[in-house]
Structures are given as C-alpha cells and as structure tokens.
C-alpha cells in the first residue's frame, strides 16, 4: 500500500516537473521574442524623425482610434486570464465563453489595425515612403503578425477542448496560450506609449 502511494506520488511529481519545464521553455521563447521587439523599438526610436519630407507621426496618427484598439486588447487580455482561471477550476462552459470573448476582442483589434494600415497606404504613407514609416510598419506589423498567430492558436485550442475536454494537457496548452496573449498586451503598452503617444506629443 505504502509503495503504491509512493509510486503515485513520484509520478505526479514527475508530471509537475515536466509541466514546469514546459512553462520555463516557453518563457525562454518569450524573452527572445522580446529581444527582437527591442531591436525594432530601437530602430523606431532612431528613425522616428527621418520622415524624408513626408508626413510625421503627429499628422498620420489618430489617437482616439488607437485608444480604442488599446482598450480592446487590454480587455481581451483580461478575459483570456479569466478563461485560464476557469480552465484550472474545470468549468468547460465558462472557458469556452471567455475564450470566445477573447477571440472576438482580438479579432476586432486586428481588423482595426488592418483598417488603419489600409488608410495609411491609401494616403501614400507606404513603408517605402520614409525611414520613419518603414520602422513604424515593421514594429507594429510584427506585433500584428503575433496577434494573428495568437488567434490561430486560439482557434486550434477551441477545437482541441471541444473534442477532448479539459484534460491536463489542454489546461497546460491553454495556460501557455494565455501567457503568450498577456505578453502581446505588454508589448502593445509600449507600442502605444512610444510610437503613438510620444509620436503625437513630440
């Protein structure tokens, strides 16, 4: 009896260590991703006044529009956190509801960004126009690509938990996705502050 208990204990401990390794590995990935964003931020900070006679940040950015984008992403980060929390308590319906809310909010954020880019393109503010616009599009575009990847990941998770339910593996995958989504929101805070707020203020 004692031995069986010990075996079970060892096994669960092994699983626990395995999960922790997975989280740590994902955290390493996020930190390297952050370094890439740092490079893009540095490029933007250096090139932000090199407009080559074109329009600068103050003329092309629409602050209220960007504020709505920011609020959408912030709320989606919150609802994503709630979804992960309910995954750990095992209530499938609440997980689905909050994950769906997160997905809708993320999708509206992405649509607003695409609309904004489209408007800039139509006004002739393409990446080829100036070094400022090149760095702007690469920084914000890279963030947008990450959001797209996050939305695809979310769709896959929907199918996964609808098919298999809230298994241990599903909860772990959901937690990783949640960390990724929070990370994207944190990067956006700095894009909002450094690109848009300082861009318009200076």
């Amino acid at each position: 009896m004692n031995m069986i208990n010990k075996e079970i204990l060892n096994k669960s401990e092994e699983q626990f260590n395995q999960d922790n390794k997975t989280y740590f590995g994902f955290w390493i990935y996020l930190m390297t991703d952050l370094l890439m964003f740092a490079g893009l931020f540095a490029a933007f900070a250096v090139l932000r006044s090199s407009t080559f006679g074109g329009s600068g940040a103050a003329e092309i950015f629409n602050l209220p529009f960007v504020l709505v984008e920011t609020l959408l992403l912030l709320t989606s980060s919150f609802t994503c956190g709630l979804a992960i929390f309910f995954a750990s308590t095992g209530s499938l319906r609440k997980v689905i509801t909050f994950l769906f809310l997160t997905f809708i909010l993320g999708l509206s954020f992405l649509s607003m960004e695409i609309y904004e880019f489209n408007n800039l393109f139509r006004e002739g503010n393409t990446p080829q126009r100036s070094a400022f616009l090149s760095s702007y599009f690469s920084l914000v575009g890279t963030h947008g690509l990450h959001i797209t990847a996050g939305l695809i990941w979310m769709t896959i998770m929907f199918i996964y938990i609808l098919k298999k339910g809230l298994t241990k593996g599903a909860v772990r995958k959901l937690t990783l996705m949640g960390i990724f989504w929070h990370f994207l929101d944190i990067v956006w805070i700095f894009i909002f502050t450094i690109v848009y707020l300082t861009g318009v203020a200076l």
Binding site: N20, F24, L74
Partner: protein, 118 residues
Amino acid sequence: MKNKILRSYLIGFILSLICTFTAYILVLIHISSAHETIPHIVLIPSILLIAILQLLIQLIFFLHLGQESSAKWNIILFIFTCCSILVIVVGSIWIMYHLNYNMTSLQMNQYINDQSGF
C-alpha cells in the same frame, strides 16, 4: 485561494485601465494647450514611467510572476532580458544621436548624394 486569483485579475485590469487613461489624458492636455501646460521634459519621462508601471502591474496581476515554483529562474531570465533591452535601445539612441550631432545637415546631404543613400 480561487477568489484570490479572480480578484488579482480584476485589480490588474482596473489598474491597467487607470494607467492607460492617465497617459492618454496627459498627452491630450499637452496637445490642447499647444505644448505649454506640461513641457516635453516632464511629459515624456512621465508617460514612459506610467508604461513601466503598467508592465509591472501586468507581470504581477496577470502573469503572476514570482508565484510559480520555478519562479527564481523565470525572474533571473526576465531581469537579464531587461538588461539586454536597455543596452540595445539606449545604446542605439545614444550612438545615433552622437552621429547626428557630429554631422551637420549639409555634410549629411553631401554624404547621401555621394553614396546615393545610406
């Protein structure tokens, strides 16, 4: 325990909202007063500080950094990354500022003409 996690998400969300709106309103005041009420030298550091504050809020209340069992290594890695970011960003700005400073616009135009771009 469970209510505690739920409450931490709610607190994080509300604090983040406050940070976002404070930064936004500061910039609005700055623009509407034609850059007079709050000078640049106060505004830029304060909105950067608010952004860093919001980063810390989200790390603590959303990501629960420092509460997992592998917390030590997560935090060490995060601090190391922050140092690297500081070197990359501040270093780039510093070097490029000096290049601009040491080159007049006439020299710059001459350089661009000679090399047909950078």
